[in-house]
């Protein structure tokens, strides 16, 4: 279990601008966006489609870089890291859970969970032990030798969560983890994530459309509202300064 300091900022997005080129048009996704998440928080990012929730998650995870602005994780700016360093940083600090689990179909549950550990100095025996422990935590120990095609959607997502936590990252980023699941299974997954947050102190940022996710998260950020508030505070600042 990790000991968290709730006053410590784990994730900080400062003056983020993100735009991309679509044909001849420059599409602005985020303009001067700010966000802070404390250590040990379970944040649900909600809001209508097209607001850039997944883009934010990718920026936090170092999967994408902002056009301008700072992405600071645990007091370290990651937007300035090279591709190689960013890969190493991701392996050490972030666990990902996606809507589509993207498990390797040729590997068993155990093999899939072991995969991120190939990047660590652990030997084969230690890797197996760690993977077994992660599978036990998500209740999939008995299915360790099954291939993904032999598992249900909920079980696959549990294995994906085990893969996300196996290298013991501080932050877990989830992009619509319950999007493909029925209500009962979605609740099981959310319970599991909440337990990882509560019992193991993982900082979790979850993008979701699932309104019931708010029951599990320690903070719900409605992105539309958050952006509006940001604009208001900017305006106020301008007025004060003038």
């Amino acid at each position: 279990m990790q000991t968290n300091n709730p006053n410590k900022i784990a994730i900080q997005l400062k003056k983020i601008n993100k735009s991309y080129q679509k044909g001849s048009n420059n599409v602005v996704v985020h303009d001067n966006f700010n966000l802070s998440i404390a250590e040990g928080e379970f944040v649900a990012l909600m809001g209508p489609s097209g607001l850039g929730k997944s883009t934010l998650l990718h920026l936090i995870g170092g999967l994408d870089l902002p056009t301008s602005g700072h992405v600071i994780i645990d007091d370290q700016r990651i937007d300035t890291l090279s591709e190689g360093k960013l890969s190493i940083w991701r392996a050490e600090n972030i666990g990902f859970v996606f809507q589509s689990h993207h498990l390797l179909p040729v590997l068993t549950a155990q093999g899939n969970v072991e995969l991120p550990l190939l990047l660590t100095p652990l030997d084969s025996k230690q890797r197996k032990q760690h993977a077994s422990l992660a599978l036990r935590l998500v209740g999939m120990e008995e299915r360790a030798n099954h291939l993904p095609k032999e598992l249900s959607g909920g079980q696959e997502q549990r294995v994906a969560i085990a893969r996300a936590i196996v290298s013991d990252p501080k932050i877990i980023l989830c992009d619509e983890p319950t999007g493909n699941l029925d209500r009962k299974t979605a609740d099981e997954i959310l319970t599991l994530l909440a337990a990882l947050n509560k019992d193991y102190g993982k900082t979790i940022v979850m993008v979701t459309h699932d309104l019931r996710a708010s029951e599990y998260a320690s903070r719900v950020i409605n992105l539309e509202q958050h952006i509006e508030e940001g604009k208001q505070s900017q305006l106020s600042a301008v007025e004060v300064n003038s």
Binding site: D64, Q99, P116, L118, L119, S124, R163
Partner: protein
Amino acid sequence: MNIFQLVWRNSFRKKTRFSLTCLSVMIAFFLFSILAGINHALTSNVSSNNQYRLLTSHKISLARSLPLNYQQKISAIAGVDSVSYASWFGGFFKDETNQLAVLAVDHQSYFEMFDEYSMPKWQLEQWKNTRTGLVVGQAIANKYGWKVGDKVPLSSSIWMNREGVFTWQFTVSAIYQNATSASDEKQIFFQHAYFDKSRAYGRNMVSWLTPKVAEQADVDKVSQQIDKLFANSTGATRTTTEQVFIKERVQQFVDMAMVIKLVVIAVFFTLLLIVCNTMMQSNRERLNESAMMKALGFSSRFLITQVYLESFFMLALGALFGCISAQLCLAYVSHLFADFLPGMAIDNVHYLNVISLVFLAATLCSFLPALTLKRLTISNTLGAKA
């Protein structure tokens, strides 16, 4: 779990596709190895161990004879060490289907000059002292069960003896082994003196002369001097080194080999396209997984190495089976063609070529997938759309 296990599992992801591609690779390397075996047979006898031996034949054709007295005239040229000669007998044993390479040679000088033919000294002396004696290659002796002392009748389709028959009586005096090439143990030699005195026509003529040049002499210059000496006679000559002569004789086969080589190059090029396409297809199907692996922290280099190893594994497996089948096939076929094309075998240099080719092909086939993996953007591939 390690990268090799990952490569192994990914390779057999689509078993049918992998097997068929592997089969194509196997066929290409089978053809390549069979050709190498044939090429070996065509060229193994070309490498003479004596670069100072020349061959002087009639300028117009090898079928035309030269006067025997050329031996003294050539011997008088500065730089010529010694001169021997030979005539083509064109023999067969009992039946015309049992064709043999029989040569009448100067018994005084021939085996001193061609020292790659080795035999016991007493046998050589015995042959020199036996007018009708034969020196037989070990392979021929084995084939017909001949031993020293056996009486052997050999027939010629060209030469009639003075008794008016084409069958000549001989005695096996010596059996030789060839120290340099096992494929050249199929010749038979007998004394030119006996041949010359016994034949019904063409006396005092030889098929070709073999001058040996002194080591310090200029081979080209001596060759030119020999040809210049007989330039204006009816027996004008053409002198080349023995190596060039043999190469020219096998030229027709080498040209055929060239055609086959071109075909094999075309097959390999097609093969490269097939393997390349397989690798690209396989890579395209796994882009999401590759993006996920990148998200987990795997570098582009790791993913590229993985693709390279997959290409290498597929090519190496195909090449291995291709070479083994070619080796088995050549082992069988070489017996059937032992008389027509001896020396069909795959040498170690060919295997080095195969290994190099596998490495090269793996690099070429993984180049485009590697480029795709290098350019792979995780966020786009994993579906972040604003």
